[in-house]
């Protein structure tokens, strides 16, 4: 087998950031189309028209959909037979994200949390956000890139409920969050909900929930039912696209779960805006790259 060239990971990391920013996934496009079809409020209809024009311009001119290019997140699934060197991959992802920022070029948003110094690289200490998972029976490296803008990320919430609060706590938390956040997360987008785990895991679950393609349901029928139930409830609120009133307030509610402690009931919410941006690449050990979403 040929030697694996890590330069490829860097190039893919760069390409993925740019692809994610300019090319909206097909499931999100379909969901927006379907949403526009059932929208009856004329003002909201205008919002949808602007959304579709924006997508079209970004497609034709390969430009950014939204000016907030966000913070880069890379979610990795490493195949059991992929001959990887984790630290090299980590290094290359960072360089790739920085190169995307400088070479496209677009505004970098990463900032030191105290001095607020912005290196204009989109990365820095602790960035890009990196998640690694390992999968069996695969020889590929699966990289999912998610640029996360602040308008929607700032609307994240986490609460450690009591076990006795039950699922009602989760439902009320979701409804109240959508009510309070209004126009800020640029609705209609995806409401990601994490349920279970620890304080950190529950937030990660919520993040995984927003990258699940719209139209896919949780495999557990009971959770899937809760997702549709919450979707219907949120869409009966009347907040509408951009909070200006209408029938469509969310495209989807996704819930991801994990086991938790007997005395814990953590719930986290991560909201995603209508440009629910993500891009995926699967790299084979022979250097073949397959792009997707």
């Amino acid at each position: 087998m040929a030697v694996f060239d890590y330069q490829l990971v860097e190039d893919v990391a760069k390409a993925l950031y740019i692809r994610a920013l300019c090319d909206l996934p097909p499931d999100v496009r379909r969901a927006l189309k379907a949403a526009a079809k059932r929208e009856t409020n004329p003002t909201a209809q205008e919002v949808f028209k602007a959304i579709f024009k924006t997508i079209e311009i970004a497609d034709t001119h390969k430009t950014l959909i939204c000016q907030d290019t966000g913070l880069p997140i890379y979610m990795l699934k490493i195949g059991s037979a992929f001959p990887w060197n984790g630290s090299e991959i980590k290094k290359r992802l960072k360089i790739g994200a920085e190169r995307a920022t400088r070479e496209f070029p677009f505004r970098g948003s990463s900032t030191h949390p105290l001095t607020r110094m912005n290196p204009q690289t989109s990365v820095g200490e602790g960035l890009p956000v990196l998640y690694c998972d390992f999968v069996e029976d695969s020889s590929r490296l699966d990289i999912l890139m998610v640029p996360k803008g602040s308008g929607s990320e700032n609307m994240s919430r986490m609460r450690m409920f009591y076990p006795a609060d039950g699922v009602a706590a989760l439902k009320k938390f979701v409804i109240d969050t959508v009510f309070e956040t209004g126009a800020n997360p640029c609705p209609p987008g995806i409401i990601g909900v994490g349920l279970g785990g620890t304080a950190d895991l529950v937030m990660k679950l919520a993040k995984e929930a927003i990258v699940r393609p719209v139209g896919q349901r949780h495999p557990d029928p009971e959770i899937a039912r809760m997702e549709t139930e919450l979707e219907d409830a949120i869409n009966s609120m009347g907040r509408g696209p951009m909070g200006l009133g209408g029938d469509v307030t969310t495209l989807a509610v996704h819930i991801e779960t994990a086991y938790t402690h007997i005395t814990q009931n953590p719930v986290a919410i991560n909201t995603q805006c209508w440009p629910a941006r993500r891009a995926r690449a699967k790299i084979s050990p022979d250097g073949k790259v397959e792009y997707g979403y």
Binding site: P42, T43, E46, V47, K49, A50, I51, K53, T54, I55, I57, A58, H61, T63, L64, I65, C66, Q67, D68, P105, F106, R107, G149, G151, A168, A169, K171, K172, I175, D176, F179, G182, A183, N184, C186, E229, L230, A233, S236, M237, G238, R239, G240, P241, M242, G243, L244, G245, C273, W274, P275
Partner: protein, 199 residues
């Protein structure tokens, strides 16, 4: 809902004809401002080097490229307005700004200034920078360059929109109306989800 096609500068008459929920497109001049621009203007007392009378101002921090002595657009998007609420009444009363463009809306004092001086808040579709950027024909001037990307920008725009009249000059506030309508529905929504009692 009425759709209006306007041209800058905006007259009081034009503004009074706009009602919450209407859609606006316009041609002409658009000024870009942000937090720092207004801190410089109001807190540090610098008079704007250009007249804003009758003009619209958008809450933005644009990506621009300098080419010789000109500026070219890369990507121009809109930011959340609420942070800049405190400057708005002065912008309207002292400088004659007729429209504030942003997302998320503003508060009571701004609404009051809009009623008194004939001005509106126009909501843009957040996240649609690709569209906004295309509707900007040229960056005509950048004033207070040292503040870039939060300087004072003068853009020339064509068919800029759709913008929703979210706060009109008659005291209507669309965001607030939509929010209270939802608030009235909340008890029913809680019930349908089997949520009982408080939190």
């Amino acid at each position: 809902m009425t759709t209006h096609h306007l041209h800058t500068p905006f007259s009081d008459d034009m503004i009074r004809r706009l009602h919450a929920g209407d859609i606006v497109y316009f041609d002409g001049t658009l000024f870009g401002i942000r937090d720092l621009t207004q801190i410089y203007m109001f807190d540090q007392r610098h008079e704007p080097p250009v007249s804003l009378q009758g003009m619209p101002c958008i809450h933005t921090a644009p990506s621009l490229r300098r080419v010789g002595d000109r500026w070219e657009k890369i990507c121009v998007g809109t930011t959340t307005s609420t942070r800049m609420d405190r400057f708005t009444p002065d912008l309207i009363a002292r400088y004659g700004v007729k429209a504030i463009i942003g997302k998320g809306g503003l508060y009571e004092k701004s609404l009051e200034a809009m009623r008194e001086h004939a001005a509106v808040y126009l909501a843009i579709v957040g996240g649609s920078a690709a569209l906004e950027t295309q509707q900007i024909e040229a960056v005509e001037a950048v004033y207070w360059e040292h503040l870039h990307p939060e300087a004072l920008y003068q853009f020339r725009v064509k068919n800029f929109g759709p913008l929703t009249v979210a706060m009109d000059s008659h005291g209507r506030h669309l965001y607030r109306e939509v929010k209270s309508a939802t608030e009235r529905r909340l008890p029913e929504i809680y019930r349908s989800l089997g949520i009982t009692g408080g939190s």
